[in-house]
């Protein structure tokens, strides 16, 4: 039966890449709906009441189900579509607990630091705001300590939760990808000075699903550059359905 395709409401932020990466690993078709959150499109009344009351992307629609929070999205895909594409979660309760643990480590130890670097060095410059270099330095130092632990872990097994690629690894690649593009001194080195971490990143970067994700991600960035309007960034609740209609692009997944 040909059901309605899944829709991914997607914008310029690495968590969107994570959702796309999950969809591609599962070889799932989806329609990409571009949301320019930087321009406030995720804070319209329509978005807040229909998609995500916290005004953030990504949001996945699968039939009547609407999901937000990238880790809830990828876990859903891993379970609902277990028999399709890559198996992203083990069946055994204890093995699954280790995957959950590394996803929590991502959320609580790695991502707060990496996302601050991304915000300071990528998002703020794009918005014309000033980078806080003290914050950058602090976060680089803390991230170095965290990555020492990853380096030790990846000396014990190929992937974070064991010998197979799982959701735990998947979630790390998009922010690392952004980090590796930064020109700021020492950021790339956080990865490349650690051989086990580097090997892990390079293995993941060669996955076909990742390559598709990069193409889509770069396309989203292009869409954003084409559709940015000179508008106030401080009027988040202005009704912008007209603008959303004009700028939302629907792209078929190939």
């Amino acid at each position: 039966m040909e059901d309605q395709k899944m829709k991914l409401h997607c914008g310029f932020i690495f968590s969107n890449w994570t959702a796309m990466f999950g969809l591609h690993e599962k070889s799932l078709d989806f329609e990409l709906v571009f949301v320019d959150w930087v321009a406030g499109e995720a804070r319209t009344k329509t978005f807040l009441s229909n998609l995500n009351p916290f005004g953030q992307v990504p949001v996945l629609e699968d039939g009547d189900l609407k999901l937000f929070e990238s880790k809830a999205i990828t876990r859903y895909l891993a379970e609902q579509y277990k028999d399709v594409g890559t198996d992203l979660l083990p069946n055994d309760a204890k093995e699954r607990a280790i995957v959950s643990m590394w996803m929590e480590i991502d959320t609580n130890q790695f991502l707060p630091l990496a996302s601050t670097l991304i915000r300071e060095l990528v998002t703020k410059p794009y918005q014309g705001l000033a980078t806080d270099f003290t914050s950058v330095q602090e976060n680089k130092e803390k991230l170095s300590e965290v990555l020492n632990i990853y380096e030790a872990r990846l000396g014990e097994s190929c992937y974070l939760a064991g010998e197979s690629f799982t959701l735990a690894d998947l979630h790390h690649l998009p922010p690392i990808h952004y980090m590796l593009k930064m020109e700021e001194e020492g950021v790339k080195d956080l990865i490349y000075s650690r051989p086990n971490v580097t090997a892990w990143v390079e293995k993941m970067q060669s996955r076909p699903a990742w390559l598709k994700t990069v193409i889509k991600g770069d396309h989203i960035f292009e869409l954003m550059k084409q559709h940015r309007m000179p508008m106030q960034l401080d009027s988040p609740c202005q009704e912008m359905t007209g603008l959303a209609q004009k700028t939302a692009m629907v792209t078929e997944n190939t």
Binding site: F54, L67, A72, Y76, M101, T107
Partner: protein, 213 residues
């Protein structure tokens, strides 16, 4: 009986999250005290249990875990048929599980960072003899208001955050909510009728009372 051990501190919200799950499931366990004031969590042998130096760490037979929300999820699944069900009623349905998962992510990303800062400013700083920074409290309360407004709308539709039954989503909030009830921030809960009812419901549970002792 396989030995369940928790390595943590009975006053720490993260440790309490795990203790709540164990009490809800009526599971026997040993709490091995880690002296946070003494920095025991930043030294061996604790660091071998959690190299990130944070409580709690956990053991169930040969399984060793850390990160409170991974531990509670493990307990909820592994002991699903025992004690309170902490998963959605139809836990094998990925769509239902996903709704609970959203709530757990919202707690971790939207609620906890803000609520924990408020606990730090108003509870922990006082305890160690430092002064509360009221400007920070005001700033963080403004953020918490936005989250609680979403919860208020949600709880008008459902009895609990993930649906009609108590789940991990609700449980994860309890330790920090309990601390905030002892601060002026409590008013943000009492001002919202459904949030207020939910707070009363979840904090009066026997397991919630046990962790305060």
């Amino acid at each position: 009986m396989a030995g369940i051990k928790v390595f943590g501190n009975a006053t720490s919200p993260s440790t309490r999250r795990v203790l709540l799950a164990l009490h809800e499931k009526n599971l026997d366990f040993e709490l091995v005290n880690i002296d946070l004031k003494d920095g025991e969590h930043k030294k061996e042998p604790f660091l071998s249990r959690n190299p990130f130096g944070k409580v709690p760490a956990f053991e169930d037979g040969d399984l060793k875990l850390f990160e409170s929300r991974a531990i509670t999820q493990y307990i909820a699944h592994r002991y699903e048929s025992q004690g309170t069900n902490l998963l959605p009623a139809d836990s094998k349905n990925p769509a239902h599980y996903a709704i609970m998962a959203i709530g757990m992510e919202v707690e971790a990303h939207q609620f906890d960072p803000v609520a924990s800062k408020l606990v730090w400013e108003q509870v922990i700083k006082n305890f160690v003899g430092l002064t509360t920074d009221q400007a920070v409290v005001a700033e963080e309360e403004a953020k918490l208001v936005k989250v609680l407004d979403v919860y208020e709308a949600r709880l008008k539709e459902f009895k609990y955050l993930a649906g009609e039954t108590f789940t991990l989503t609700d449980l994860h909030h309890i330790p920090v909510v309990q601390y905030l009830l002892g601060t002026p921030t409590k008013k943000l809960f009492t001002e919202r009728p459904r949030v207020n009812e939910w707070v009363a419901e979840v904090t009066k549970r026997p397991a919630s009372q046990k962790i305060l002792k």
